[in-house]
Symmetry: C2
Subunit: 122 residues, 2 copies
DNA sequence: GCTGTAGTTAACAGTTAAGTTAATTAACCA
DNA sequence: TGGTTAATTAACTTAACTGTTAACTACAGC
């Protein structure tokens, strides 16, 4: 697993880490601030590891202030992941079946004009 | 890992599986159709397993036709994941810093009216 | 019934992930 | 200097993930 997209999705595939990101929406927080809701369920080193995963995925950044390590959200890290998923939007939007049928009719008439924006993503 | 969101993100955290989803955007495909691009790198049972992951995550559905198992995309499975990520959109959109500053001014004036749509997501 | 094709299941091996406890680093404070 | 707080690192365990090969199920067609 080397590619950025995999790292992003992998980092998001854990409820603890997602909860941490949600907490960080409200602004910076130290490691122990972030740990607080989880210390019944896991140790502080476990929290450190989760934060490292988020940091490596580019979803948060840590700085230093005395003995604290304030963490802040880096939302840009989510952009590529959302962009990737957006290509499926039409597959979950309402009345897709009817929409697709309509599109088939249209593309049949305009023979291939609908081959727009091939981004070559994977 | 029990929750749907974790399953979805986890399923997406693999380039092989993402490539399979991309292939399925073009329409139904059998297991061996889907396997074709990967058989240099992995065996057919490995492909089966990837498809099982996607199926359990609700991202694809398998049917039966003679000895084939046509797979089709189930884009609705991505909806919740995208919705979750959308809450961070403002964090990656351009000039966020200035936007945030502006919002702070606004909410300071309207004292609390900006507390909209608390979806209780995690 | 036999043979080929499509796909899954079983059993196993290697790697990574996620947690633990104990020890360590680093800064503050008195 | 010594104690406290904040956080990380080290070493280890366990479980899950990803892949393998070999065996099996199921259907098609002669």
């Amino acid at each position: 697993m080397v590619d950025t997209l995999s790292q992003t999705f992998s980092a998001l595939a854990d409820p603890t880490r997602r909860a941490m990101l949600i907490r960080l929406k409200d602004g910076e927080a130290s490691v122990s601030d972030l740990a607080k809701p989880f210390l019944k369920d896991m140790s502080l080193p476990a929290v450190t590891k989760h934060l490292q995963v988020l940091e490596r995925a580019g979803l948060i950044a840590k700085s230093r202030a005395a003995q604290w390590r304030p963490c802040r959200l880096k939302g840009e890290g989510l952009k590529d992941a959302v962009d990737w998923m957006e290509q499926y939007r039409k597959f979950w939007e309402e009345r897709f079946d009817r929409l697709e049928e309509y599109l088939k009719t249209v593309t049949a008439k305009t023979k291939g004009k609908g081959k727009k924006h091939g981004k070559g993503q994977q």
